[in-house]
């Protein structure tokens, strides 16, 4: 019996969370996967605060948070998921911050013959486009934006048989970057990221073609480091952070997109 207790103690010791009291854990939409590590590194350098990052489709992360995932802050790719969490008491209303407006782009590899600048979305009707990568509309705001944009341009039914669905927008980008899909509707932040920048060309989908991706962040109620988390969000409002976000194609909601105030 006592040996069982000892074994249990050793097990707990070995498996126990090694997170220090200082570390904050951030769950972030996949479109932030290129810029957020840089923001976190800049923040750590400035304040000594360690930041751990987890990426996924906003819907998947929301579901994980509902099931008790130990995150302190949540960066969504839209505003709906954070609002749902607030409504369910899982995030604090006062902390909601619209940190950026996400942009959807149509991306093709460098060797693609498609004339994006001339054809725009209609380029997808070209017979050489056998697969079009998008994020999963069920869980990813960028997936919903892609589907809305295809409908906006009236080609959804013509291309729906050729859509391949990434688990999140980063996987959709990877599908087209690896050449397995010939075109993809992905995040501008990925198109501008070093890994993809010189690998292809993109066409920015006009803002009126899909509901604006008002990306919002919230501090989660279950977190025991809400103050540290709030400070990280404050850092995002600063000039250093906004200029880094801007270099990845993110604009601030207030300045350029008054329509961004539309909240469901």
């Amino acid at each position: 019996m006592s040996s069982m207790t000892e074994m249990l103690a050793v097990f707990l010791l070995l498996t126990g969370s090694c997170a220090t009291a200082q570390e904050i854990t951030v769950a972030a939409a996949a479109d932030m996967s290129a810029v957020l590590p840089q923001l976190a590194a800049a923040y750590t350098k400035k304040t000594g605060q360690a930041v751990k990052l987890s990426f996924g489709a906003s819907g998947n992360l929301t579901n994980q948070i509902r099931n008790g995932a130990p995150f302190d802050v949540f960066f969504s790719a839209d505003e709906e998921y954070p609002q749902q969490l607030i409504a369910d008491g899982l995030a604090s209303n006062g902390t909601l911050y619209r940190y950026a407006v996400g942009r959807l782009v149509l991306w093709v590899p460098s060797d693609s013959p498609l004339e994006l600048s001339k054809l725009g979305m209609q380029a997808l009707l070209d017979p050489s486009v056998k697969k079009i990568a998008i994020a999963n509309p069920a869980t990813a705001p960028y997936g919903r934006a892609a589907a809305a944009a295809l409908r906006h341009f009236g080609i959804y039914d013509q291309v729906s048989g050729r859509l391949v669905i990434g688990e999140n927008v980063a996987q959709a980008a990877q599908f087209v970057e690896s050449g397995n899909a010939q075109a993809g509707l992905i995040a501008l932040s990925h198109a501008l990221a070093p890994a993809m920048k010189n690998q292809g060309r993109y066409w920015t989908v006009p803002l009126d073609a899909y509901p604006t991706l008002n990306q919002a962040a919230v501090v989660l109620s279950r977190s025991n480091q809400r103050d540290a988390a709030r400070k990280f969000l404050e850092f995002l409002r600063g000039a250093e952070a906004t200029s880094l976000l801007a270099s990845y194609g993110f604009s601030l909601p207030a300045e350029k997109h008054p329509s961004g105030e539309r909240v469901k």
Binding site: G59, N60, K131, T139, G166, F175, S178, N180
Partner: protein, 229 residues
């Protein structure tokens, strides 16, 4: 319950486990009777999918067989499309993924056939091929069924490879495990629950057949079940 995904997955598992009978028997035959000193390297290679994460396999199918690689371009010129996001791609990925689950029970049952029977057959003038067909295969029936059932069940439960190379296309690559994942991620728990239960029951029944066969089986050969012989 998504029946389209269900039947797609059953079809995938059926094709894969049938092909693995055809591929697995010669491989297992060679592994059983070869005296090559480096044979253990081939044994290790066949067993790789047991220990490798499915993401490794998925990565190779996606990148090494993508349109950037010579192999991928060759496939594309042959078929007009890349392997990723197609049913064939899933079949090829699953063949690799489930190979040891067929080969190992096959080889174990071949190896358990009494060598005296092989010598008797040879002394009666039968060729090794005829001996294999008339003596070894009939005595290995339970091993063949085990290999078929295990590779079928293993393919039913495949997830990582499909998530990486499938592209989640309804009716083409959206398998039952991906469907459950989607249901859970969208908090559609009752639907996930139904599908998961069906998969649980089928897997349990398949394994029960395998273990029952070994306990009261077609033959009382002493080989162990499964890849962990």
């Amino acid at each position: 319950m998504n029946w389209e995904a269900f039947w797609l997955t059953v079809r995938l598992a059926g094709i894969v486990s049938t092909l693995l009978i055809a591929i697995g028997i010669p491989v297992a035959y060679w592994l059983t009777y070869s005296r090559w000193r480096w044979k253990f390297l081939v044994e290790a290679a066949v067993a790789l999918p047991i220990v490798l994460p499915p993401t490794v396999l998925g990565f190779y199918v996606l990148v090494a067989l993508g349109s950037r690689s010579p192999l991928g371009r060759w496939w594309e010129s042959l078929t007009g499309h890349t392997l990723a996001f197609t049913f064939e791609g899933l079949v090829i990925g699953s063949l690799l993924y489930s190979l040891p689950f067929a080969v190992q029970p096959f080889a174990a049952s071949f190896g358990a056939v009494d060598p005296n029977l092989l010598r008797a057959s040879a002394s009666l003038g039968h060729s090794p091929a005829r001996t294999f067909r008339r003596v070894v295969l009939p005595l290995s029936k339970a091993g063949l069924v085990t290999g078929f059932a295990l590779s079928f069940a293993h393919t039913l439960g495949e997830f990582g490879v499909v998530l990486m190379v499938g592209g989640n296309i309804p009716g083409v690559t959206r398998t039952i495990s991906i469907d459950i994942y989607d249901q859970v991620q969208t908090a559609n728990y009752s639907s996930a629950n139904q599908t998961a239960l069906v998969l649980l029951i089928i897997s349990f029944l398949l394994l029960s057949v395998v273990f029952g066969l070994n306990r009261y089986g077609l033959h009382r050969s002493p080989w162990a079940v499964g890849p962990w012989r």
